[in-house]
């Protein structure tokens, strides 16, 4: 018995050692690139679309991509800020990029390695979150609107964000499980600035959200897919590109942008965090995603707007002119973007949101 045990232990040790050796060898000839991205946010080869990561690995056979996902900017931020992990590429939203730049969590990009930056449209460069465009390269842009099931929801009720407060649809309404987006909706409803730091205004938003709570079926992020596609819920605020993915599965789903009240217009951009170990490979990856042909095929699947006009040539024409992904300029003029709030304010907003959830 003792012998068997010691043999087993020895075996485990050897396995452990070889595993380390393998990891070392991998560093020598095969690089592991850790990409951390939103869920459902890269074309994965399903339904005959391009598998972007496989295509990248085929083009650069010495790079292995280790891909993982998050479902909100805050979750991603907490994980990276916690330290102890290696992440080479992340794709946060605008306000989160500003915060990470401010906290020295991003590396400056070497644009010599990213020649495809030339394809990025002029109006997507030098955004307020990264004024000199040193840290980020736009990946997509999109809007936050209301997704509803036309089979159950009366068109006459679809007038604005107040649809999410309509008692007729109690228990069929989903809400963002993310304080920034949830408060954003309350701010548009109340006509406040979405970047307000005024405690009284934030409290008023929290009160409005607390009023909504009895009608809410669940507070969700990525779980929204199943719930809306299976008609378990009928109304939910969410991101435009995700709507297009859902609409493929359930044709009763419609998308509405409350123009009068305003809505969030966001840009998600590729960045390299300071915990990166393979900066050059990371830049190769970023450059690859900015290749118009790859970007076009990628956008066909993920359904968000592309910041590369050149990519549209390679896209399914229907997708390239989809009114949800590319609303008219007159509509877009009503959108506003989230700015970075100081850490103490975002913590205050989060504590208010928690109180709403516990009320």
């Amino acid at each position: 018995m003792k012998k068997i045990l010691s043999l087993l232990l020895a075996l485990i040790l050897i396995l452990g050692l070889t595993a380390c050796a393998e990891a070392d060898a991998a560093e020598g000839d095969k690089i592991t690139l850790n990409v951390y991205n939103w869920g459902q946010y890269i074309s994965d080869g399903s339904d005959g679309y391009l598998d972007v990561i496989a295509a990248f690995e085929e083009k650069y056979p010495n790079i292995h991509v280790n891909y993982s996902t998050y479902d909100s900017n805050e979750v991603m931020y907490t994980k990276i800020a916690g330290g102890g992990i290696t992440v080479d590429v992340i794709i946060p939203s605008d306000y989160m990029i500003a915060r990470m730049i401010d906290e020295n969590m991003l590396l400056e990009l070497n644009f010599d390695n990213i020649p495809n930056y030339a394809y990025i449209d002029e109006n997507f460069r030098n955004q307020t979150y990264d004024p000199e465009n040193k840290y980020s390269i736009p990946y997509t842009w999109g809007t936050v609107g209301i997704i509803y099931n036309a089979q159950y929801v009366d068109e006459a009720d679809v007038t604005g964000w107040e649809l999410l407060w309509n008692e007729k649809y109690a228990d069929k309404i989903l809400m963002f499980d993310n304080s920034r987006d949830a408060f954003g909706i309350a701010q548009y409803m109340l006509g406040y600035d979405v970047n307000t730091t005024d405690p009284a205004q934030l409290q008023a938003c929290a009160d409005l959200l607390a009023e909504q709570k009895p009608l809410v079926q669940q507070y969700v992020m990525d779980q929204i897919y199943d719930l809306m596609e299976n008609e378990e819920a009928w109304i939910a605020p969410y991101y435009s590109g995700d709507y297009l993915l859902m609409a493929d599965e359930n044709e009763n789903l419609e998308f509405y942008l409350p123009q009068e009240q305003g809505f969030n217009l966001f840009i998600d951009a590729m960045c390299i965090p300071t915990c990166c170990r393979e900066k050059e490979a990371a830049e190769l990856f970023v450059n690859f995603l900015c290749d118009p042909e790859i970007a076009g095929q990628n956008m066909d699947w993920i359904g968000y707007g592309t910041p590369l006009s050149a990519a549209k040539e390679y896209m399914d024409p229907e997708m390239a002119s989809d009114p949800v992904a590319y609303p008219e300029d007159s509509v877009l003029a009503h959108g506003t973007s989230f700015d970075y709030l100081p850490a103490s304010v975002s913590r205050y907003v989060e504590s208010l949101f928690l109180k709403v959830r516990l009320s």
């Binding site: 805050e74 709570k213 079926q217 299976n230 103490s344 913590r347 989060e350 959830r357 516990l358």
Partner: protein, 274 residues
């Protein structure tokens, strides 16, 4: 010499405990008493705990109810298994363990698929003309999820105790004129108390800190303390308050198991805490 050897044998465990339990506990305590922005010592996290007392109360209520239901369901099962032939015992024991081989997240998600408004049960009820029922997002669904997930933790310790009860004691009670009910109440049950206590503890402790069951099966109103702590770390960007909550939860668990041991008159040595 012999003593030294046994000390040596316990070294790996002690190292394990220090590295993976004591040091992390120290870190939790450190975070609980520091300010998220400045890192300076503060009582403010502890002071804020008061607002979460109702959540603690709710979590304890849910898990005590679940533990009691587990006891009611689990005792007869354990009793039944303990009185089969050894072969059958092994088989039944395996069957009780079997669900635990599958991820608990998957099993909870399976309940969502069964219970939701457009789920399998409701679709069937609708098809046969009964109409849809409100099954998911109710307190009952949360209790169901807890009982379903933690029932084996009740059955296994109960079985372990029941199978060891000397059958001669039961026979003696019967010979001395006890009815079956009296035999059970006066002999079997008191002898199985340690099993009841450890079963209750093993259901209560994971149930009180769970954060997934209530999210998936509960309504937005059933937010338990585990959910709040998870939120503090994942979304809230306030690990310090999360640490203070975890600390309080830990103390609460110790107090509750202590009360349970006191009430049942067990000295605590028989209690298995995992």
């Amino acid at each position: 010499m012999k003593r030294n050897k046994t000390v040596l044998l316990s070294v790996p465990y002690i190292v394990w405990m220090v590295v993976f339990t004591l040091i992390p506990l120290g870190v939790v305590a450190y975070y609980a008493f520091t300010d998220p922005d400045t890192g300076a010592f503060t009582w403010s996290n502890i002071r804020e705990l008061g607002t979460f007392l109702p959540v603690f109360g709710e979590s304890v209520l849910y898990s005590v109810v679940s533990a009691l239901i587990c006891l009611l369901l689990g005792y007869p099962v354990a009793y039944y298994i303990a009185h089969r032939s050894p072969m059958v015992q092994k088989l039944l024991y395996m069957l009780v363990m079997l669900p635990m081989c599958m991820s608990f997240l998957l099993r909870t998600l399976a309940w969502v698929g069964l219970l939701q408004d457009t789920g399998i049960i409701n679709n069937t009820l609708d098809a046969i003309g009964i109409g849809r029922l409100k099954l998911i997002r109710t307190p009952g669904a949360v209790i169901l999820g807890m009982v379903y997930n933690y029932l084996p933790y009740m059955i296994l310790p109960l079985y372990a105790i029941l199978v060891k009860i000397d059958s001669r004691l039961i026979e003696a009670a019967e010979d001395l004129g006890c009815t079956p009910a009296q035999t059970f109440l006066k002999v079997t049950m008191p002898l199985s108390t340690p099993g009841i206590v450890s079963g209750m503890t093993m259901v209560f402790v994971p149930a009180v800190s769970t954060f997934y069951i209530s999210q998936k099966l509960g309504s937005p109103d059933t937010m338990l303390i585990g959910d709040v702590i998870e939120r503090m770390y994942k979304q809230g960007n306030n690990a310090n308050l999360g640490a203070a909550l975890s600390l309080l939860l830990m103390i609460l668990v110790f107090v509750c198991t202590g009360i349970m041991n006191k009430l049942t008159g067990s000295d605590g040595e028989d209690v298995v805490v995992v």
